[in-house]
């Protein structure tokens, strides 16, 4: 694994990366926004600690799209984001982010890593954490009274306003709730006006109203600011209605498509290898039920990977079992089963 560090934003000082993405470095470099895909993977594979996580992944994500990356634990979802950031190099294949090699798009990529919360004892204001997203990678200390400092303050106030964190941005961040911290961190990721936002389980460990509110915020940023969003998610339900594209990572590969194509009972059941049902509620929303906490398998995924014939057989069998599923949409016609399951009521209705 080669890790590239930039001495300053946008000015890469990279180590040589094996394989991917170097052959076409001299070709046209589109900004990534105008028609061309913001993210493009061709036959990409990644290895972490000698273990092949996924391989042969082809993926295109267009500008302004809201994409969710789903899949069982330990399948390499976060690693996909790190590949897009350029902190993990792909073992094979080509990866382009905003028309460039990963890690070269500089401050046009915003990142929210998976995390627990800040230490409650951390005595640093939320706005300071946002400010680090603005110029935290520069040497020295910010000098007071400069034009750059005033511009920074303006932009930080603006982005804090955008995420609705004004009421608590001057409070020590350790004392903010999980939802408040998450909004401030989204503001930090947005402060340099990125074209692409990479979010790693931003809804994790939030309560339901906060999950819905943060999902609504990310959806709004995607729509109104035209920012391409790639969100790794554990539970697809809070964001399902906002998604343009779903990427499921499982069994060492990826399945991508629109939610209607991918979020189906048979696809999810196959990918998670345990029964998953996709239901449609009376107002037309999809709900995934019985989504498992699949145990992370720490073996080489390819060792126990299904062969193609196995997989076809598997699909046939599943289709056979779920014969009553509408083959066109993959959705069960009945609508009221949602109420019978232990799935919580989806609060999106009230907030969107």
């Amino acid at each position: 694994m080669s890790v590239s560090f930039r001495s300053r934003a946008g000015r890469p000082a990279r180590t040589a990366r094996p394989g991917a993405g170097e052959t076409e470095a001299g070709l046209a470099e589109p900004s990534g926004g105008d028609g061309g895909p913001v993210i493009s993977l061709r036959g990409a594979s990644v290895r972490v600690g000698g273990r092949l996580l996924w391989s042969g992944v082809d993926l295109d994500i267009g500008g302004g799209e809201f994409t969710a990356v789903l899949g069982p634990n330990g399948v390499g979802k976060s690693t996909l984001l790190k590949v897009l950031l350029g902190t993990v190099a792909p073992a094979a294949g080509e990866v382009r982010v905003l028309g460039r090699a990963p890690g070269r798009a500089g401050d046009r990529v915003g990142y929210l890593p998976q995390r627990r919360s800040f230490d409650p004892a951390l005595r640093l204001r939320g706005s300071d954490v946002v400010r680090l997203g603005w110029d935290g990678d520069r040497w020295g200390v910010p000098l007071p009274g400069t034009a750059g400092g005033r511009a920074a303050r303006r932009r930080i106030a603006e982005v804090i306003d955008l995420v609705g964190a004004g009421a608590y941005a001057d409070r020590p961040i350790g004392q903010c709730s999980g939802g408040e911290q998450q909004r401030l961190l989204i503001a930090q990721a947005l402060v340099r006006r990125p074209r692409l936002l990479l979010l790693d389980e931003p809804l994790d460990s939030l309560d339901l109203p906060n999950q819905a509110a943060v999902a609504a915020l990310v959806g709004r940023i995607c729509r109104e600011e035209g920012v391409t969003v790639v969100m790794v998610a554990h539970d697809v339900n809070p964001i399902l209605s906002r998604l343009d594209r779903v990427v499921y990572l499982a069994e060492g590969g990826a399945v991508a498509g629109s939610p209607a194509e991918v979020v189906t009972t048979e696809t999810l059941t196959r990918l998670y290898r345990t029964p998953v049902e996709v239901l449609r509620t009376s107002d037309g929303r999809l709900v995934v039920v019985g989504q498992p906490e699949a145990p992370a398998r720490h073996t080489d995924r390819h060792a126990d990977r299904h062969t193609d014939t196995d997989r076809h057989h598997d699909i046939e069998r599943r289709t056979d079992v779920d014969r009553h599923v509408d083959p066109g949409t993959g959705h069960r016609p009945d609508t009221d089963r949602n109420a019978d399951t232990d799935q919580y009521p989806d609060p999106r209705g009230e907030l969107s």
């Binding site: 990529v109 230490d119 005595r123 300071d128 997203g133 935290g136 200390v141």
Partner: protein, 293 residues
Amino acid sequence: MTAPPAITVLAGHSWTAALQHPFFQHALLAGTAVAAAAGLTGWFLVLRAQVFTGDALSHVAFTGALAALAMGVDPRIGLYAATIAVALLLGALGRRGRADDVAIGSVFSWFLGLGAFFLTLYTTSRSAGNGGAGVSVLFGSIFGLSASQTLTAALVGLGICAAVVAVARPLLFASVDEAVAAARGVPVRLLGFAFLAIAGACAAEATQAVGALLVLGLLAAPAGAAQRLTTRPYSGLALSAGLAVAEMWTGLGLSYAIPRMPPSFAVLATATAVYAATYLPAVRRVRPAYRGA
């Protein structure tokens, strides 16, 4: 009406006299540089929850100085070489350029024992018979600095301050938000090592003023007080250095006025008193008001 002599001195009529003593000038100059360096470095040690590292490094300072004395070289060479080398070793043993508690615990008690060994070696083998060397390293000898020692201490202190200020912003980023900092191109691991080296140099520097046993107080108390008094990072950094310098001056003044009070004790008593004062309600009210989450 007769005031005790010490109070009379404190009242100030002989401060100009104090400043004319070379030993006091040296102490003031070196002490200021040492305190500013310790204040800045300590603020990051507190922020990064690495105060224990500072403690370990002070033990190493003791060992390094005595090893140098036992070998017959300038103790400052042993001081700086040992603290910086061990700081980097601790970083290598720990994770991502941070020393972890197990690594520190395993290394530092052994080092303290090694220090005792060198002390024995020194006092038994050197005919000079400087039995006070151990005490001087442990408790500092700021009133005994020569002009050249003072110059070195001041320059090293200034260098440490410059180094901390130079890395302050990316180090802050790497300390509170490691993953995002790394994604933004901040060399997190390298900064971790650089900071440990700075902390090692600072521990060695501060050992000259307050001694190996009391270094921790000078690193932790002003920084802890500053962290309690402000949530603004750069103000906190400046406040920590300012408090450390003020506490150093106060301590040196007290020690001059009350000759029985050793300077290291006076400095640290002041620092501890200031830290304790931040818990008083009247001082706490100065902090920006906020209501709990």
